[in-house]
Symmetry: C2
Subunit: 384 residues, 2 copies
């Protein structure tokens, strides 16, 4: 297996983009990544997308995306793992380059969600849970994460305020992200007084419905050196699954797929959690970020809330999480999120994350999760 | 890259299976493949499915499929390329084993289509075409292939009877396939008198709406030898795309993605069309099989119709096509089709294709196509 580098990244603004279609979004991000990388051709591409079928009535997305990108004829593959679709595209692109099958591979993610009505989007997102045994009973994603939050509060004493602090921290970071959907600060009091969605989660605990796309160009490290590009290596990858139903897990507060995917990536990279300078993780709800930091091994079980409260996850903290603003502030176009995490890492490593820069970052990790945690993809990157 | 073998296959009956759900179908085929292979564990899996979202309201399919297969925690990836989703799962599984990333990989395909009403299924299938620029105008898949058929007839003199002969030949083969949806013979006269769908295509020119699943187990050839399994090697793979819209192609009768994907597979396998003992190809409509045989290089452009008429594609012909009965007689659960083709090749190589056996077959090729030809995946297999 060859060493793989990320040599270019591109992204669209995230938001309610009524004047841009699914194909526009993907093409915009992909062209930006190609331009950023300086390569004049790509040999293969992967498109992460959760549900272009349900959101805009379009499947066969990889062929369409290649065609509109002016790349018809190359192999183009769509992958889906609900909200972890982007991370999965990254992993398969990595595998294709590492294996030697192709040299220059584009990995992208896209979702066009706001063309749906609210109930349609809620139904679409619900298909990441078990349609027959969970959604049938009327539960939606805020409901599933509310169950996790309530269990975490009961078991570990996590407070309502600590949950709010996740959102406050991510909005503080996102306020300096020019592509964020909600680039402004909020307060703990503001979160606590926001509209109740699924007790104990309020609207400001939830990531939004978003349109957007992101893309990256991968190639062998040897080629990146010849191109004179800064070397940002993929040094670890992990992918694991768990029960699709939340109720099937021994402990609903524990994200086993995240734990396993992280373990794989740490082992491959020969790194431990304390070696990682910052993290981009899947804060689809405030409680998710707390559970994720526990599963990644950054804190002991149940200690996520206090860690947030102590400022450990802030940009200047012990283990900065989501300098981009995370899904909460930046937005969550589900299929794009995993690649948007890679975009942030490259910007940080290049010192281009103005206003939200993590100082002297050399090693960083992404964690991208599907559904209520039934799938997770992780990557570790290193700047030479 | 390591040599890869297929060591086990499984399939469900194809048909209108109202008593089996999406997850039941996948699990049934996957367990059969695992059982057939003799391995006691798999390390990773790929699930090809076109649109579980639109057909049954379930995304995040790979995690769900792993869970219900009793394989929670392993990496599980869903891929989609419309009706070529199964072939794509095969290709990625091949890549994972060839690269050395994992040794024992399950590749499967599934589609549960008959829970939809007719119009819903037609809409779902239509999402393999360009929703904004083709479907918007009211065209459906029989309409797109009818345009191809009409152009082929005008340009090359292909006759209505020659189209019918494709269906007659495939039903003759499928009559001996115990898993076929329509295991009975039909006549040219029967096709010509069947209900008109989209002129010139009639109902008996069209593959049906089908529920079903298929799966295969891949591992390195070295491991297959240690397991004492018959060696069925993957010696070539190809994947290419074309314009999503039929009207964007210079010649609507020419399947460029099939031509390119076949060229890649032939080159990798170091084989030419005449070296291949039989083919399993994507006859979603009778005209498709004719265009495919031209793009695969079995006959010159425009000569597909006369080749069928001359019996060259029959089991005892010069280049047998679809001994399984093809999509027409066997059925076409879209995401499963590409893996069902692999199933047939393994059964033929093992001499287990009773009543439809191709004699002395050692080398065979699959061609699995998405939409009106915007994506194609090909594989070449060799029996040692």
């Amino acid at each position: 297996m060859r060493d793989v580098a990320v040599i270019g990244v591109g992204i669209t603004p995230f938001g309610e983009l009524w004047n841009k279609s699914l194909r526009n979004l993907f093409t915009e991000a992909a062209l930006a990544a190609i331009d950023d990388s300086g390569v004049d051709r790509i040999q293969s591409m992967y498109v992460g997308c959760m549900s272009s079928g349900l959101f805009v009535g379009q499947e066969h997305l990889a062929a369409l995306a290649a065609d509109y990108l002016g790349q018809r004829h190359i192999p183009s593959t769509r992958v889906e793992s609900a909200c972890a679709s982007g991370g999965l595209a990254m992993r398969l692109g990595y595998m294709e380059v590492a294996s030697g099958m192709n040299d220059v591979v584009l990995v992208g993610g896209v979702e066009k969600m706001t063309d749906s009505t609210g109930p349609e989007a809620t139904f679409g997102l619900g298909t990441a849970a078990d349609q027959e045994y969970e959604c049938y009973h009327g539960i939606t994603f805020p409901g599933l994460y509310a169950l996790i939050a309530r269990a975490h509060m009961e078991k570990y004493g996590t407070t309502r305020e600590q949950l709010a602090m996740v959102a406050v921290k991510n909005h503080k970071n996102g306020a300096n992200n020019p592509n964020a959907q909600y680039p402004f600060e909020i307060t703990v009091d503001g979160v606590l007084k926001s509209v109740m969605i699924a007790d104990p989660l309020r609207i400001l605990d939830c990531s939004p419905i978003t349109d957007g796309a992101a893309a990256a160009i991968l190639c062998p490290v040897d080629m990146a050196k010849k191109l004179g590009k800064p070397i940002i290596k993929v040094i670890g990858t992990g992918h694991a699954t768990d029960t699709i139903q939340l109720c099937d897990r021994d402990d609903p507060t524990w994200l086993e797929a995240t734990y396993l995917a992280a373990k794989q990536a740490y082992a491959m990279a020969d790194k431990k959690p304390s070696d990682i300078d910052f993290f981009e993780v899947h804060d689809c709800f405030t409680i998710a970020e707390i559970c994720v930091m526990e599963a990644l091994g950054l804190v002991d079980k149940g200690k996520g809330g206090p860690a947030v409260e102590a400022g450990k996850t802030a940009i200047e903290g012990k283990f900065p999480i989501n300098p981009s603003g995370g899904l909460k502030s930046k937005g969550h176009p589900v299929g794009a999120t995993g690649i948007a995490q890679v975009y942030e890492i490259v910007k940080q490593f290049r010192g281009e994350a103005e206003g939200r820069q993590v100082k002297n970052a050399r090693i960083a990790m992404t964690q991208n999760m599907g559904g209520s945690g039934a799938s997770t993809v992780t990557h570790i990157f290193e700047r030479e």
